[in-house]
């Protein structure tokens, strides 16, 4: 590049706009070329305040720690004991979030079941019904009751260990899904009762109830059909966590699943994923406050999801009041999604390992988010299950390590008092002191 013009006057340094970034410009060019908004999978990719902005303080003179590998740190959790005859007993507080058969292949669902069962936790169906692969390999299976009701049938409902009424998900609060035609294989079409190859829209609201009073009646119906045996969860997106949690409890939920904007989806508009909803860190304290205000904390369980990746995230979620967490995207990565070993193929799809999010197109090189028989062959459900089990075990060990360092003999005993925040935003959201201070924005009595 010439540094001077023909008269010898120096050029200024080429300057990229902070507003019209290369990313933004590529979005504009894509929109101009296609006339269609960008649809993708995954959760929010933008940087938001997160659990990374919190730290545990660990033990000191005033707190004493527990010995690693010698003194016990329990991890079990019971979900749904309030109304259900048979609550769900899990060995670890990390569950597998709902992901549909259709979005995922049958073998991928099988692997989730294998891995979760080996680690002592539950899996969750999705917008497409229950497959024999998943029921057969999941010791504990949560059946999602979704607005679309694709594949919904009472026989499967009665086979479930818990029912999760899905009101919303963090990636798209207030939005439905879209499974594009290329993923509607014969089997998916049959399960969803749709013509093959069409774009399949998933409804954004339930067809037979609206609002909290109706929800209460819907929960009654589901309990009557299943004989009051299994817990009923209500899953909401991180939209208005205080009110949504309050209303879910009022409607009779046994557990509330709360999903922040980093939580993934199989497919929806990028603009939805990035601009609707709240970060996971921001939604937990209002939800816990709602539980506490109703005297229901630890009676109605709170399951937090949306960008949970490590044992540290698990420990932080639990310290802020969650009873358990759910993972989706992280589980797919453990299975092998976005693995650099497929880099050449990711490049051929115009992306790179780690950034691949066009799961709805059905071309996943890792053979996980696809219905293409040839690609599916690349994925071994037994090996995938083993990898997921390992990952869940590691997360649990990590969370235990932190809990012991804080002197806790159960992950549930972690508390906000164990935490400090690195940023003002995180301090305000988590309601824990900014590191080095005894203050957080909004702390009662501090005048802010």
């Amino acid at each position: 590049m010439n540094k001077h013009d023909e008269k010898g006057i120096p050029h200024t340094t080429p300057r990229q706009s902070a507003t019209f970034t290369q990313d933004v410009n590529s979005d504009i060019r894509r929109a101009a070329a296609t006339g269609i908004y960008d649809i993708r999978g995954g959760g929010a990719k933008r940087k938001v305040p997160s659990f990374d902005d919190l730290l545990f303080m660990g033990a000191s003179i005033s707190r004493y720690p527990l010995e690693g590998y010698r003194e016990k740190c329990e991890t079990s959790v019971t979900i749904g004991g309030l109304h259900a005859e048979n609550p769900i007993e899990l060995d670890i507080p990390i569950t597998i979030a709902g992901m549909s058969f259709g979005a995922l292949s049958g073998p991928a669902k099988e692997a989730l079941g294998r891995g979760a069962s080996a680690a002592g936790t539950s899996t969750t169906t999705g917008d497409g019904g229950m497959t024999p692969e998943e029921r057969g390999h999941s010791n504990k299976l949560v059946y999602q009751y979704l607005p679309s009701r694709y594949g919904m049938n009472p026989d499967d409902l009665r086979k479930a260990d818990a029912i999760e009424i899905v009101v919303g998900q963090g990636a798209k609060p207030g939005g439905g899904g879209m499974l594009l035609g290329q993923k509607i294989s014969d089997r998916v079409a049959h399960m969803r009762n749709l013509p093959k190859g069409i774009d399949q829209r998933s409804a954004c609201r339930h067809p037979d109830w609206t609002g909290p009073d109706d929800l209460e009646i819907k929960i009654l119906e589901l309990r009557e059909i299943t004989g009051w045996k299994v817990p009923i969860y209500v899953k909401v997106a991180g939209a208005r966590p205080y009110y949504d949690t309050t209303l879910a409890i009022k409607a009779g939920a046994d557990a509330v699943v709360l999903d922040g904007m980093q939580g993934g989806t199989a497919a929806t508009q990028d603009v939805f994923i990035e601009h609707v909803g709240q970060p996971t860190l921001a939604i937990i304290r209002p939800a816990v406050q709602a539980l506490q205000d109703l005297g229901m904390h630890r009676k109605v369980q709170l399951i937090l999801s949306g960008g949970i990746r490590t044992g540290a995230d698990v420990a932080k979620a639990m310290a802020l009041g969650a009873d358990a967490v759910a993972i989706g995207t992280a589980a797919l990565i453990a299975l092998g999604d976005n693995d650099p070993k497929w880099e050449a193929e990711y490049n051929a799809l115009g992306t790179t390992a780690g950034a691949y999010d066009d799961w709805h197109e059905g071309k996943d090189p890792a053979g996980i988010t696809t219905q293409d028989p040839e690609l599916m062959k690349r994925f071994d459900p037994i090996e995938g299950g083993r990898r997921l089990r390992n990952y869940l075990k590691v997360m649990t060990l990590e969370a235990q390590t932190i809990a012991r360092a804080c002197g806790k003999n159960h992950l549930h005993n972690l508390e906000p008092e164990d935490l400090v925040a690195l940023t003002m935003e995180a301090a305000a959201m988590a309601k824990v002191p900014l590191a080095g201070t005894d203050w957080y924005p909004g702390k009662p009595g501090t005048g802010f």
Binding site: T34, G35, N193, P207, W209, D214, E221, E224
Partner: protein, 239 residues
């Protein structure tokens, strides 16, 4: 032996007073009936608009509710026949899989929502969103139906002997709609279709099954224009 008084109803008719027995015990009793039960005739009295009456049935039994019902009566029904001798609340017969629900009075909104199979017969009118997201159920209404009926209907047949409200069949897939009277308006991607002999046969069968004396030739068929099956930006204005 002294003569016995004549039975007031069929000998095997079991009567449950819902107010006395309670919803849980009522449904538990009905759920306990197996495929080969000989207690096939049940009567529920004093329903008083309760919700979730006779939901989740899965046996070839016939349950008659003497009065009006609340939400989700006969929800997710399999095999059973549920007669409602009154009017039916929202979501009656939601996600019905098989069997039959007969409503003597009117039906509230979301009738037969997401139903996968079976038959629902309404002798009065059905409200808005009748057959919403229907996935194989057949619904036959002697009177009129309200707005947004069969929204996103996937399969099955909706027969209306009276008139249909606004936006019939909006965003429907392969469900068929037969209306004898007027249609206030059609929803996005729903259009008038040719009534071919096979459709007349389906319609006649459904009218016969419902026990309605109506001439199939007086009906008009509607269904999906299939223009919105695959996204096209030029159709965005449809919404």
């Amino acid at each position: 032996m002294r003569p016995q008084p004549p039975p007031k109803r069929p000998l095997n008719m079991q009567t449950i007073d819902l107010t006395e027995v309670g919803l849980r015990e009522t449904n538990k009793t009905l759920h306990a009936q197996s495929a080969d039960t000989n207690q096939t005739a049940w009567e529920i009295v004093n329903p008083r608009g309760s919700h979730a009456i006779a939901c989740g049935l899965d046996a070839p039994i016939e349950v008659t509710v003497k009065g009006s019902t609340g939400y989700y009566c006969g929800g997710m029904n399999q095999q059973a026949t549920v007669n409602i001798h009154g009017s039916a609340g929202p979501g009656t017969g939601e996600n019905i899989m098989s069997g039959k629900i007969v409503i003597e009075g009117d039906a509230s909104q979301y009738l037969g929502a997401t139903g996968h199979g079976g038959l629902i017969v309404v002798k009065g009118n059905a409200s808005s969103r009748c057959g919403i997201s229907m996935k194989g159920v057949n619904i036959v209404v002697q009177g009129n139906i309200g707005h947004m009926s069969a929204f996103m209907g996937q399969s099955g047949n909706l027969v209306v002997c009276g008139d249909a409200g606004d936006a019939l069949g909006d965003s429907c897939y392969e469900a068929r709609f037969f209306v004898r009277g007027t249609v206030k308006s059609l929803g996005a991607d729903c259009e008038k279709k040719e009534m071919r002999p096979e459709h007349l046969e389906i319609l006649k069968g459904l009218l016969d099954e419902a026990g309605f004396d109506a001439d199939p030739s007086e009906f008009t068929r509607y269904g999906s224009a299939r223009n919105l099956y695959n996204f096209d930006v030029d159709n965005a204005a449809a919404y």
